[in-house]
């Protein structure tokens, strides 16, 4: 009787270890598997939600680059600062001269650059969604997306015109546009950037305190570099949103004795 009990206990223990082992394997698989696929397979994310999320992720990536590089994805005329190519909004290569405005339409520049960045990536999102959801019985039809970006007072609106039709089991859903909305205070930061650029063009410098006094939620950092370039970092204290740009105006070279 005693022997039987021991045998039973041993069996129970073994089963417990097997179950535990299986659980560990499942956890490891979940850990190493692409979270995106898990969301799709186990979650309730629709194809449209997937495309929206994908677009939003790319938009955030593009915006981050634009914000740190003075509004260009690949700036030509830039200053290298903390591994960022910070584009000049106002620039002169001469000494003692006021800068020449390089980007008078900062908001438009941002919109155009973000559009350029997003267009191929939205197509990529669409292709990916076809791949993933095709396996689940969805079929897609759409035209080449016509992306439109607009930076508004409190948000950034990305509108992709693609006349998309999603079909599953004969059930069709039509989407003329795909709208992605990103909450952002970029508009205000861009307006302040324009104002600083105007100061630089008129006086050869700007006074950061003035802006911080007028806008208590704004932080303006001005970092003068050895060649006279000024790196401006605007930060919204509430949202921590940052915008960085460069300006080079009224430069005094080291040790030039001539006047």
């Amino acid at each position: 009787m005693v022997i039987k009990k021991i045998r039973f206990n041993k069996r129970a223990q073994l089963s417990l270890f097997v179950i535990l082992g299986i659980l560990v394997i499942i956890i490891v698989i979940i850990f190493f598997t692409n979270k995106e696929s898990l969301k799709i397979w186990f979650g309730k994310e629709s194809p449209l939600e997937y495309i929206n999320r994908c677009t939003k992720d790319y938009a955030n990536e593009g915006l981050e680059m634009l914000k740190m590089q003075g509004g260009s994805i690949n700036p030509e005329n830039y200053y290298m600062y903390q591994n960022y190519k910070v584009g000049y909004v106002c620039y002169t290569s001469e000494i003692y001269k006021r800068c020449v405005m390089q980007k008078p339409f900062l908001k438009e520049d941002f919109e155009v650059e973000l559009k350029k960045f997003l267009t191929p990536r939205i197509e990529e999102c669409l292709k990916k969604s076809e791949e993933i959801y095709g396996k689940k019985g969805y079929s897609f039809s759409y035209k080449k997306p016509d992306v439109n970006v607009s930076i508004n007072f409190n948000n950034i609106l990305i509108k992709s015109n693609l006349d998309m039709v999603i079909d599953k089991d004969g059930k069709k859903e039509n989407y003329k546009d795909l709208n992605v909305n990103i909450d952002s205070g970029l508009y205000e930061l861009l307006m302040i950037e324009s104002s600083i650029a105007n100061w630089e063009a008129r006086y050869g410098d700007s006074e950061s305190m003035v802006y911080m006094y007028y806008y208590p939620n704004l932080k303006v950092e001005k970092k003068i570099q050895s060649d006279g370039t000024r790196i401006y970092i605007l930060t919204n204290r509430k949202t921590n949103e940052k915008l960085m740009f460069a300006s080079k105006s009224v430069v005094f070279p080291p040790g030039v004795t001539g006047s």
């Binding site: 700036p75 030509e76 005329n77 830039y78 000049y88 106002c90 620039y91 002169t92 290569s93 001469e94 000494i95 001269k97 006021r98 800068c99 020449v100 405005m101 390089q102 008078p104 339409f105 908001k107 438009e108 520049d109 007072f153 307006m191 324009s194 650029a197 105007n198 063009a201 008129r202 950061s208 305190m209 911080m212 006094y213 208590p216 932080k219 950092e221 001005k222 970092k223 003068i224 570099q225 050895s226 006279g228 204290r237 005094f252 070279p253 080291p254 040790g255 030039v256 004795t257 001539g258 006047s259």
Partner: protein, 561 residues
């Protein structure tokens, strides 16, 4: 008589003339700066409309015009494509100054031939936005009004920003009572906004405006009542009570909640008659009073109060990098070592620190001490203000009297007694230089050159930083500290020599004095750098063309002290 003449001649022959040269980078070099002789439509580094050397021009094909980017052997201002002007963004109402025509047209902007934007389209006026105001152009005002959903109210007769702000503050404010879907409700706003409300909302009855009344006033009979909640209002410093409709009431005062003082919820009480108005600390962190004052270092923000969750947040800075406390808005200078009187260290620069919103922000002044930091206290207060401004060192050496030298309206120099400069390396009229040392204006100056003994010399108060490791500029500046001295010796008949004239320059003190002058001229001479290191090659002492060694160590010791 003849014998006496012979003796004199003999003595003259016996006089050895030993020349001592103290040379500090004695190569006198011509300063060259690249000739900005061509206007490039676009440069190779992507900049638009730059006056630059020809080789920097981008001559590739412009994708828009299908023609190469242009270049003209003239200043950009003289060209048609790169003329500077004002670029107007008609959609945002912004006017961008000093913009090349080409760049403006690239963005489909409207370009005007006035680079400071003194044009009708860019004329500023007062844009009233509810109880706020902005000093902007008419187009910008329209844009802002549309953003905030308000009617455009642009006052072009207001010509200053301060008058504009005053106008916004002087607007009638009060309770705007109206019926929304049959319910009598209220919004605390300006008269103008109230009377325009009908056009913009589903309002069933003409709105009525009650100047200086709060929406919580019982006699108005609205659905808005008092609460013990508080709120921060955009553009205002103070913490306000909030009514049940979400409108701001009077400034938060824990002793005047509705149950204690119903009268406080009827009409607007001015800031000056609210709690803690005379507290010079701006009621920082007060649990009972929300009368914050931004200029005194407090602003409405989240925090624990007796009622509600807003307090007057402290915006001052404590225990800053120099260990001191500063008020919000104060700025001060920080240096990396000794400054002024030519003592700035090699590689050092000046910094401006700012205390704003409780944070210490560091702004470097221009490198190479092209800018210096100045600070002063506002008269009658303990409030410090600092600024980086241009270091005016360039004409110090050409000032030959103390008064001109110390004229702080024109330059940043200091006066050093004991030696003077003969102007030999400057472009100034050399006849004027004797004023610094009239007693030395004799024949000896023809054989002695550069820095001479006696009198006084004008030197940069903040020596400019120099790129002494490249180019010729540093050499040109440092060579102003060169000194060629001739010492006259007399030989006696036994062959011994005795110094007869200009003897004092053959001493370590004289070399030290010259090193002091050199190090004040810029990053010249033997001088410690930011990390306390100094080099040997800043000073060369030669006697009859032979370099004297050993002297450097003594100077280094004294310069490091």
């Amino acid at each position: 008589m003849e014998e006496k003449i012979k003796e004199k001649k003999f003595k003259k022959i016996l006089i050895f003339i030993i020349s001592i040269y103290l040379i500090v980078y004695s190569v006198s070099a011509e300063i060259t700066w690249p000739a900005f002789n061509v206007c490039c439509e676009k440069t190779k580094n992507g900049a638009w409309c730059q006056n630059t050397p020809e080789e920097n021009c981008d001559l590739s094909i412009n994708p828009l015009t299908k023609a190469p980017y242009r270049k003209t052997p003239a200043s950009c201002d003289a060209t048609s494509f790169c003329k500077m002007g004002c670029c107007v963004d008609t959609s945002e109402g912004l006017c961008m100054e000093n913009t090349p025509q080409k760049v403006c047209e690239l963005y489909a902007g409207t370009w005007f031939d006035d680079n400071q934007c003194n044009i009708q389209q860019c004329k500023l006026g007062c844009c009233i936005l509810g109880d706020q105001a902005s000093f902007v152009t008419l187009t910008r005002c329209k844009k802002l009004s549309s953003i905030y959903g308000l009617e455009t109210n642009f006052r072009k007769d207001i010509t200053s920003e301060s008058a504009c702000i005053a106008l916004a503050n002087a607007q009638d404010k009060g309770a705007c009572v109206y019926e929304l879907d049959g319910e009598r409700t209220c919004k605390f706003t300006t008269r103008g906004e109230c009377l325009n409300a009908k056009k913009s909302a589903n309002i069933t009855k003409e709105p009525e405006f009650f100047k200086d009344y709060l929406c919580s006033a019982d006699e108005l009979g609205t659905n808005c009542g008092p609460t013990t909640e508080t709120m921060c209002v955009e553009g205002k410093d103070e913490v306000y009570f909030k009514d049940t409709c979400g409108n701001p009431a009077n400034i938060y005062d824990a002793n005047r909640i509705y149950s204690k003082d119903p009268g406080y919820w009827k009409k607007v009480v001015p800031k000056s008659q609210s709690c803690g108005f005379n507290n010079k600390d701006g009621n920082i962190n007060s649990k009972n009073c929300g009368n914050c004052n931004y200029l005194q270092g407090s602003l409405c923000g989240k925090g624990s109060a007796s009622y509600g969750d807003n307090i007057c947040k402290d915006l001052n800075c404590y225990n800053t990098q120099n260990g001191k406390n500063y008020k919000n808005g104060e700025s001060w200078c920080e240096y990396q070592g000794e400054v002024g009187n030519g003592n700035d260290l090699v590689g050092s620069r000046h910094f401006r620190h700012i205390c704003i919103n409780g944070e210490e922000i560091i702004e470097p002044c221009a490198d190479y001490r092209n800018e210096v930091c100045y600070e002063s206290k506002i008269a009658g207060t303990d409030f410090t203000e600092a600024a980086c401004r241009v270091n005016r060192w360039k004409d110090c050496i050409d000032q030959f009297n103390e008064k001109d030298c110390l004229n702080s309206d024109k330059r940043d120099c200091f006066w050093l007694n004991g030696s003077h400069y003969d102007g030999s390396a400057s472009n100034v009229n050399k006849n004027t230089n004797t004023s610094s040392n009239p007693e030395k204006a004799d024949t000896s100056q023809t054989e002695n050159r550069g820095i001479l003994n006696g009198g006084g010399i004008c030197l940069p108060n903040y020596p400019p930083g120099l790129k002494f490791w490249e180019g010729s500029e540093a050499k040109a500046i440092c060579s102003l500290g060169n000194s060629r001295q001739v010492i006259h010796y007399e030989l006696n008949i036994f062959g011994g020599k005795k110094c007869k004239e200009n003897c004092e320059v053959y001493s370590i003190e004289w070399v030290k004095k010259l090193n002091r002058i050199c190090s004040s001229l810029g990053d010249c001479g033997i001088k410690s750098n930011l990390v306390g290191k100094s080099t040997d090659d800043g000073v060369v002492v030669k006697v009859n063309g032979t370099v004297i060694s050993g002297i450097m160590e003594k100077i280094k010791e004294s310069s490091n002290k």
